[in-house]
């Protein structure tokens, strides 16, 4: 069960996605895993939440109205260089993955994703973080 697999340490994750369904899915899965979840619906909101709250990592969509996820990531990284950001996008061609990593993403999670992939990437990045 998801609850049983929950790690001892709880982390705070910002989910930035303009798609409401995707937001709900991530929230449901990560909360179930024992994490704390904040949500943003566009890049601008993501930046302000990221700068205002202590976060362990950000799950960032790319195609969002107004400021897109890559620009939001750039601005957040400029302020908080160590912030772990995973780009989660339906742009999932091989070239897209390269593009996102080159833009500074710590990891890329292509949509649609397996739920275990989502929890695994969160665990990996937050584990790295706690190790540091």
């Amino acid at each position: 069960m998801a609850e049983a697999d929950a790690p001892a340490e709880s982390v705070t994750v910002l989910v930035a996605d303009d798609n409401e369904v995707a937001q709900r899915l991530c929230r449901r899965v990560l909360e179930k895993a024992g994490h704390k979840v904040l949500t943003a619906s566009d890049g601008l909101e993501a930046v302000s939440l990221a700068l205002a709250n202590p976060l362990d990592m950000i799950l960032m969509d790319v195609a969002m109205p107004g400021m897109d996820g890559l620009e939001a990531m750039r601005q957040i990284k400029a302020q908080k260089p160590g912030m772990a950001i995973v780009i989660s996008s339906a742009h999932s061609m091989a070239s897209d993955r390269e593009r996102f990593l080159a833009a500074g993403a710590d990891d890329v999670l292509s949509k649609p994703f397996r739920l275990t992939d989502l929890t695994a990437v969160v665990d990996r990045l937050t584990a790295n973080k706690s190790a540091q």
């Binding site: 303009d18 798609n19 369904v21 995707a22 339906a90």
Partner: protein, 764 residues
């Protein structure tokens, strides 16, 4: 006539004083006689006897005779004394006369009516090459050149007949050796005491003067021939003829150095009219005289006049025989020097010996030099003329147009090709077309950074200008201008080459067009390719976005452990996303059918107001916006596919609702406009940013907003709407202001029979 001769043959003067003196004694004697006669007559009368009378008469007669004899004898003695005295005087005169005549510097002589020399002075004899006694053995006729005899005889006849007193003229005398020379001759008749007439002859040798005259005349004639001829070929016969005539030669020839063989060939010849000389000329034309041989070779090598008295086979092996056949002996060869080089010779040939004095040689040297200079000049002139003619021919015959332009731009000259090309005559071209062409040139030159023509100079640059011909055709002309400087280097005029490059230009333009079309096609293909890739990327993004919810929530449900309301909610998400995927696929297929022309629309009469009202009725209950219909009840029916029109209207209405805030107003209006139904669906929503307006009808160009996200569109709606409207023959466009809302307008043609004339008039 000399004064001495005149004195000698004059009659004695008659003296009146002498007569008186001589008559006086006769008168005395006559008186004595008369007294005696008277005494006798007295005695006779007294005696009266016959004897006495006879005695007395006898005595008287004896007395008279005695007196007469005495007087006669006395007279005879006296006459003898006078004659003796006269002879003395005459002898003295004669001596003086002889001295005078003998010492005279002119030739003087006396001939009788048969022209036998009666007397001659030393000067005359020497002049005629004889001693005085030898001369006195001959006649004037005999020593006169045969050619002059007729003239002499004629004059002598006139003198003999007393028709003229004397003759002054010229003739030619022959020396014993055969040489003849010219003389000035005066013959005057004298009469000596009624005896047969004599003629005084005065002669002087005028050969020097005659030669000087001949030389002068020859030079004048030669120079005249040269001055009036353009080429040596024209001048040659005149020059040779002048030399031959004035210097009295039988043949004069010009031989020139053969360009190849270095030999002399006969080029021109003049002869005295004589068949033998003509034959000689023909023979000479066959000959060639090698260098360094004979008198010709000498003249050629030395560059000075050379002469021989008698032509011989030793010097002239080939020329001698023909010369001798023609009777020619003497040859004088005069080199013709041109540009410091002997390029030919003039040969003077004559049968009898001629004067070969220095002045003749000098004259021939001068002629050779002047002829040489003339040949050189004529050659140069001919070369210049040929060059000029060549250039003129290039100018005239050139297939491209050539114009000569003054430094101020005025057209000085235009060749035939230019006039032909521009279809003008020179006057019209110069006054009208050329100034226009120049302006075009300068404008084009300004663009091409070529020096302008009107500045008076040019740098050889080319420009292309468009110009109309006199025939109204438009040409592309390539103009290339080159300055031609004067001697001081200032631009004197400009040469402009004008080429008709219309065909080239048209071909270039076509090529450029084709190239552009090709590039455009390539760009279209690239764009299409890009569009396809982009489309694929967008579509896959849309699908994956939808699938994220479907896959994620179905995985949650599958893994179990959910509350039943959770399962219901997740099932709803899954359904919505699955539905969206379905719509997406439908829209894509629709669009593809429309764009490829495979979608058919079923045209029928449609009441567009009914379509609008129906859509409002279906949409209104479930929404938070206010609908404000503004439908024109008189709007005629349109022609269209009702289902498709419903699709258009509901799409636009849904969009309006989607982008309207809660409580917003959606206005739906319809009216007739110029044969079309104009439908407007306006909202009071967010509006579309100006940079987005141009793209709203493109695929997947949704204006994203947080509020809009709850209604998941496919991003293809407006694209499909536009396609449908255009398939109906209508138009669609949008007006929008950010923060105030958007208004979408579209038109659909009214049904044909619904359009009233008034409408057409109003909107037509």
């Amino acid at each position: 006539m000399s004064p001495g001769l005149k004195h000698r043959f004059a009659t004695k003067p008659f003296s009146t004083e002498g007569l008186v003196r001589r008559v006086t004694p006769y008168a005395a004697w006559l008186f004595v006689g008369l007294f005696a006669v008277a005494a006798i007559f007295v005695g006779v009368a007294r005696s009266s006897g016959a004897a006495e009378v006879a005695a007395i008469v006898l005595l008287a007669a004896i007395g008279v005779v005695t007196v007469v004899v005495y007087e006669v004898m006395r007279h005879a003695v006296r006459a003898s004394e006078v004659a003796k005295h006269d002879a003395e005087a005459l002898r003295h005169h004669d001596e003086l006369l002889s001295l005078a005549i003998g010492g005279a510097t002119v030739g003087l002589g006396l001939i009788d009516s048969e022209t036998r020399w009666v007397e001659a002075n030393q000067t005359l004899a020497a002049m005629l090459g004889r001693k005085v006694p030898e001369l006195l053995d001959t006649t004037l006729i005999a020593i006169t050149e045969p050619g002059r005899l007729a003239a002499l005889e004629q004059q002598l006849d006139a003198l003999r007949a007393g028709r003229t007193a004397r003759w002054v003229g010229e003739s030619r005398q022959v020396k014993p050796g055969g040489d003849s020379f010219p003389v000035a001759l005066t013959i005057a008749a004298v009469t000596l005491d009624g005896t047969r007439p004599l003629f005084v002859v005065q002669e002087s040798d005028i050969s020097v003067a005659k030669r000087a005259d001949a030389i002068r005349d020859a030079m004048v004639a030669v120079r005249h021939a040269i001055a009036t001829s353009a080429t040596w070929d024209q001048a040659a016969s005149h020059v040779l003829g002048a030399i031959g005539t004035h210097l009295e030669r039988d043949a004069v020839q010009f031989w020139s150095v053969d360009a190849e063989g270095d030999v002399l060939r006969l080029r021109h010849a003049w002869n005295c009219p004589d068949t033998a000389l003509a034959e000689f000329e023909r023979s000479c034309r066959e000959l060639f005289l090698p260098p360094g041989q004979g008198v010709f070779g000498r003249a050629r090598q030395s560059g000075v006049v050379a002469a021989i008295k008698s032509i011989s086979p030793i010097g002239e092996p080939s020329l001698t025989l023909p010369a001798r056949k023609a009777g020619l002996n003497e040859v004088v060869v005069c080199p013709v020097v041109s540009a410091g080089e002997v390029t030919g010779v003039i040969a003077l040939l004559s049968r009898r010996p001629s004067d070969m004095q220095d002045d003749v040689m000098t004259m021939l040297t001068t002629v050779g030099s002047e002829v040489g200079q003339f040949i050189q000049r004529a050659d140069t002139t001919a070369a210049l003329q040929r060059s000029e003619a060549d250039h003129r021919a290039i100018f005239e015959q050139a297939p491209i147009g050539i114009a000569r332009v003054s430094a101020t731009g005025e057209l000085l000259e235009g060749n035939a090709a230019l006039l032909r090309m521009l279809e003008h005559d020179l006057d019209v071209l110069r006054d009208q077309a050329w100034p226009d062409l120049l302006r075009s040139y300068d404008v084009a030159a300004g663009r091409s950074r070529v020096a302008p023509l009107l500045a008076g100079y040019s740098d050889g640059g080319s420009v292309q200008v468009r110009a109309a011909t006199g025939g109204g055709r438009w040409l592309w002309l390539q103009m290339t201008a080159t300055s031609i400087p004067d001697v001081s280097g200032r631009p004197e005029h400009v040469l402009v080459m004008v080429e008709d490059v219309t065909k080239v230009r048209v071909a270039q333009d076509k090529l450029a067009e084709a190239l552009e079309a090709q590039q455009s096609a390539n760009a279209d293909l690239e764009k299409l390719d890009r569009t396809k890739t982009e489309f694929l990327s967008i579509v896959s993004h849309e699908f994956r976005t939808a699938l994220t919810g479907i896959q994620g929530f179905s995985e949650l449900i599958r893994d179990g452990g959910l509350e039943s309301d959770e399962v219901r909610a997740y099932g709803g998400y899954i359904f919505n996303d699955a539905d969206r995927v379905n719509r997406l696929i439908g829209d894509m297929l629709d669009l593809d059918r429309m764009e490829s022309g495979r979608m058919s629309i079923r045209m029928a009469d449609v009441d567009i107001n009914e379509v609008l009202s129906d859509t409002i009725a279906r949409s209104a209950p479930s929404n938070t916006v206010d609908f404000k219909p503004d439908l024109d009840p008189r709007l005629p029916i349109v022609t269209g596919d009702r289902d498709r029109l419903v699709q258009v209207v509901s799409n636009l209405v849904n969009n309006a609702i989607k982008y309207s805030p809660e409580g917003g107003v959606v206005t739906i209006s319809s009216r007739a406009e110029g044969g079309y139904a104009l439908i407007t669906i306006a909202d009071t929503g967010l509006g579309i940013p100006p940079d987005e307006i141009a793209h709203v009808f493109e695929r997947f160009r949704r204006v994203r907003s947080g509020a809009a996200q709850s209604i998941a569109g496919t991003g293809l709606g407006l694209t499909i709407v536009k396609q449908i409207v255009e398939m109906h023959g209508g138009k669609i466009w949008v007006e929008s202001a950010v923060g105030h809302g958007s208004a979408f307008h579209f038109t659909i043609p009214l049904a044909a029979d619904a359009v009233t004339p008034a409408m057409q008039l109003r909107h037509g």
